[in-house]
Symmetry: C2
DNA sequence: ATTAATGCAAAATCTTTGCACTTTC
DNA sequence: GAAAGTGCAAAGATTTTGCATTAAT
């Protein structure tokens, strides 16, 4: 009884986010939330779905990623102006961005220190602080 | 003889970057580098050029911004996946991003402290560390 | 004259939309 | 069966490209 039950995990997650558990959403949630945290583009997730024999259109993948993000199940990371990344890790954290392979990896919040933030102009409210460490693999490629 | 000579400033800047000082590049350099540091999109710079009666196409503005960036005269800031921003400030620094007005403002390097950076995976070389403080004006708009 | 830059329109991305069809509740 | 979600193709938006023309050295 202590076995992981991924299907119902995804189901519960959708239910508590107020999203109808349709076949497409369940399949995408399974790809996204079963296992480790991940960083995906719409294109990547769509091709994974197709590979897994899930019939879903790219437009629906876009919609779904935005719905998951709005529902607080994921967040969007902006590192490359030509494509959007979505992260299943919604805890406070930061990123390495590998410019060659165009991949992301997490930096936990306690692995980095940002201090001395100046006051925001006009007392604007801080939505989020993103630290992006851009790196380049200087070996291959 | 201590007067500012913006035209030749732009000229010298282009010359030392190895870029031919064409009419379009000179005009754009003038818009960009005369005065305070600025953050521009291609669209914005193009419309400023048109307003200033400079005949230049949007494609050339894109090309020019990229050439200036490659030459180290500017740098690109990624904060919004739907548009590219270019910054005339090439010193180490960070940014506030106003999500409502879609505008940027600089945070000088010494106004913020990033410490305890973890080692890069595989010893990859750090290209740049970007801190983006996303803010929302909670008054108007 | 040679070489580089420009303009234009067309193509290439990536992302969103409109609407008929399908699925969930 | 009412309401919400999906697919598809088409439209949008931003950025890039190809090539003939123009300008800089």
């Amino acid at each position: 009884m202590d076995k992981i039950r991924p299907y119902s995990m995804a189901l519960d997650r959708l239910r508590s986010a107020g999203l109808r558990p349709t076949r497409q959403r369940l399949a995408l949630a399974k790809l996204l939330f079963d296992g480790e945290n991940r960083h995906v583009t719409a294109e990547l997730l769509h091709s994974e779905a197709v590979d897994a024999n899930v019939r879903v259109s790219l437009a629906t993948v876009y919609n779904t990623l935005h719905q998951f993000t709005e529902a607080g199940l994921m967040r969007e990371i902006v590192v490359d102006s030509s494509r959007s990344y979505f992260d299943t890790n919604i805890d406070d954290h930061h990123h390495f961005y590998f410019e060659d392979s165009k991949r992301l990896s997490d930096i936990a919040d306690d692995e980095i220190t940002v201090s001395n933030l100046p006051p925001t102009p006009g007392g604007a409210e801080v939505t989020r602080v993103d630290v992006i460490v851009r790196v380049k693999e200087n070996n291959s490629q």
